[in-house]
């Protein structure tokens, strides 16, 4: 079978098998699911050479009508996403075997995870806008399944619904854009659309790009459609790692990068994209400072980092933005998986105020989290260092000084809240409950997973977390491997005149490092000093009380949406169900029934049973007939 088809369909096969034979498979579904994704990864690696060739790997699926050809396309952009989805995804699958070891519905979990991989692959591998849209919708569905996996928890169900509804809102935007593109170009395939991109009117381009970005904003949790992401942490931690950190939320970045030819032709929309990305970047960092749930800290951090990516592709620095996606997938997945280790060890405790002192108890988790944190703040020569610098400097290069400064400041904030998390989690006295302190699992826990299942993927992820950035390492003016990888894919934007302020890149990196160090130092002063650690319980109580209302309520976004949209919708629904349904719709049916009955009563009066009456009626009818034939029949 063609390699690309195998990569695409293998996860679907795994999902179907896990769905159909869940009760029989039990825990073995985990092995099946992981194997399927890892095999897909290997096969995708084998296609590396062909994909970076001149035309990429093309696989036509079906031609419905001319202009409607569905197929798969592996070019550098989709190859990158495919490798991350299957590679990091495969590692997370293995991790999930351990994490979900004692869950009764483990087979269903792996069915959903495989289904998600299949859906995301559909999204990135499609060579046409309709296939992308299909993948887009399926990914939202998979996210709904997985967030609400523990469906007996009302909070999880509510979070799943919230994520799905906000995604539907974004779907409207992207659907409009897809339809407009098809109407304008009479074709659905990317190659045709990009070839005709120059012929589209600027108004249409703006509309299409805005529509696409609305979809991207919903999927990638950009302001103002970001409120679903923190709540999505109700799902199991592997779900948060795979979907809401590494892959699904980056679908928006993929979308903007894929449609680079269109975006580069409408600079105002690009500006808007960059501004929203920057706004999200700053807001995510600000909110990350105020969180007490370890997964929410990471969720807001994800929001902020994706803001970086969107800002990168928005200013036109596509390679920088995509590089940040690449590195972020590794360190964010690793951070989430490590957080999962901690949560699992503390018997499902997620509140940072109840942690502390885990440095001695869980050294492996500490080092893993430290390395991930160093990557995310941009420690020199870690993976995040390369990508963050590329994005920040790219903003300056493409003429956005304000965004440049915002990027630098956010880097400082990132350092602050990430190290706040580290200090609160691993240092100071242990502040949690007594039974969670002993490791939590009594004899009646029902078996425990072999710990290597959860630790191995984390360990494997440490390597790219440290070294992945070096793909963009270049000396002087020679192109880096990253730039060679993408070739001419992004040679669409041509406004790289030069940095607005004459700051060379090395100096810019220095400025960023200084700000980052400052953030780290502030975090140390507040949480890391020995005095702070000793008094941590009192200080945390004080800090909880003193948290500003705006930060506690996430800048009131949820309240605003509730007031402006949810309440009116509820009123409308109530009005319709209490009034329209019984009095209008039911009344119509009742009236029809009444009419039928009334007609029956009337016609029953004709059935007298009297022969003479019937005879009279017959004669009357005969008279009519005779009249017709006498008057009109003659003139035939």
């Amino acid at each position: 079978m063609n390699g690309l088809l195998l990569v695409w369909l293998l996860p679907l096969g795994g999902a179907i098998l896990c769905w159909a034979f869940g009760p029989q498979l039990g825990r073995r579904a985990g092995a099946l699911g992981s194997a399927v994704v890892l095999v897909a990864f290997v096969r995708a690696c084998m296609l590396f050479g062909d994909a970076t060739g001149p035309t990429g790997v093309h696989q036509t699926l079906v031609t419905w009508v001319p202009g409607f050809t569905f197929g798969l396309w592996l070019d550098p952009l989709s190859l990158l996403w495919t490798l991350i989805i299957t590679g990091v995804g495969g590692l997370i699958h293995v991790y999930s075997i351990g994490y979900m070891w004692s869950d009764k519905a483990i087979a269903r979990f792996f069915a959903y995870m495989n289904f998600f991989v299949f859906a995301m692959l559909t999204l990135v591998l499609s060579d046409n806008i309709v296939g992308l849209l299909v993948g887009w919708g399926l990914v939202g569905l998979a996210s709904y399944f997985l967030i609400g996996f523990w469906f007996y928890k009302p909070a999880a169900v509510a979070a799943a619904k919230k994520a799905f509804v906000i995604n539907v809102f974004g779907d409207i935007g992207i659907m409009f854009a897809v339809f407009a593109l098809f109407a304008a170009t009479s074709s659905i395939s990317f190659s045709d659309i990009f070839a005709k991109a120059g012929t589209l009117s600027s108004g249409l381009l703006v509309a299409v790009c805005v529509g696409l970005f609305i979809g991207a904003a919903a999927k990638s949790a950009q302001v103002p459609l970001h409120t679903w992401l923190p709540d999505a942490m109700e799902g199991p931690t592997p779900v948060s790692a795979l979907i809401h950190a590494a892959t699904m939320v980056t679908a928006g970045v993929y979308l903007v990068a894929r449609f680079a030819p269109l975006y580069s032709l409408s600079p105002p929309v690009q500006e808007g994209v960059a501004v929203i990305g920057a706004l999200t970047m700053v807001m995510g960092a600000l909110l990350g400072v105020a969180q007490w749930d370890i997964k929410r800290i990471l969720a807001y951090s994800t929001m902020s980092q994706i803001g970086y990516m969107i800002m990168g592709v928005g200013v036109g620095a596509y390679q920088a933005g995509v590089l940040h996606f690449f590195t972020h997938a590794f360190f964010k997945a690793q951070l989430f998986l490590t957080a999962g280790l901690i949560i699992h060890a503390l018997h499902d405790e997620q509140d940072v105020r109840k942690m502390g002192g885990l440095f001695e108890r869980m050294p492996f988790a500490f080092w893993a989290m430290l390395i991930g944190t160093l990557a995310i703040i941009g420690f020199p020569y870690s993976s995040g260092y390369f990508s963050k610098d590329a994005v920040i400097y790219g903003a300056l290069q493409h003429g956005h000084p304000v965004l440049y400064i915002a990027g630098i400041l956010t880097a400082g904030l990132t350092a602050y809240y990430m190290f706040r998390m580290i200090f609160l989690t691993f240092f100071g006295p242990y502040r949690g409950d007594a039974d969670a302190a002993e490791g939590g699992h009594g004899a009646d826990h029902g078996g425990h997973a072999p710990s290597w299942l959860m630790q191995l993927p984390v360990a494997i992820l440490i390597v790219p977390t440290i070294f992945a950035g070096f793909v963009d390492f270049h000396s002087g003016d020679a192109p880096s491997r990253w730039q060679l990888f993408f070739g001419t894919l992004f040679n669409v934007s041509n406004n790289v005149a030069g940095p607005v302020w004459p700051i060379p890149q090395t100096a810019s990196s220095m400025i960023v490092l200084v700000v980052v160090a400052a953030g780290l130092y502030v975090a140390y002063l507040r949480y890391g000093t020995p005095a702070a650690q000793l008094a941590s319980v009192d200080r945390l109580i004080a800090e909880t009380k003193a948290m500003p209302l705006a930060l506690r309520r996430a800048f009131f976004f949820d309240d605003a949406i509730d007031f402006a949209i949810v309440k009116p919708a509820r009123l409308l629904g109530g009005a319709i169900s209490n009034f329209v349904d019984p009095h209008v719709i039911d009344a119509a049916v009742r009236d029809l029934v009444w009419i039928a009955g009334a007609l029956g009563v009337v016609f029953r009066k004709l059935q007298t049973g009297l022969v003479r009456g019937y005879a009279l009626t017959i004669v009357i009818g005969a008279a009519v007939f005779i009249a017709y034939f006498a008057l009109l029949g003659a003139a035939r």
């Binding site: 029953r604 004709l606 059935q607 007298t608 049973g609 009297l610 022969v611 003479r612 005879a615 009279l616 004669v619």
Partner: protein, 101 residues
Amino acid sequence: MDVDISNYVALSAVMFFIGVTGVIVRRNPLIALMAIELMLNAANLALVAFARAWVNNAGHIFVFLVITVAAAEAAIGLAIVVAAFRRAKAVDVDEVARLRG
């Protein structure tokens, strides 16, 4: 034919409608049956007249058949009246209204 055909048609029609009136007005089933015979004979008259006008004895054959069928129908009708009379002492067309709705 010394009289125009339309006279025979009119005569046949008059006799037919007298029979119709008889069916509607009378409540005695026997009289009703006799009125039905009147109607049939009116049709026969028209048929014979037209057979004579076109000099075609298919009309005669038709009349023959009508007479036969009228005989059969009269027999059965009277049998029904007799059977109904066995149940009730008097028979009234209006009373036999079991098929009312």
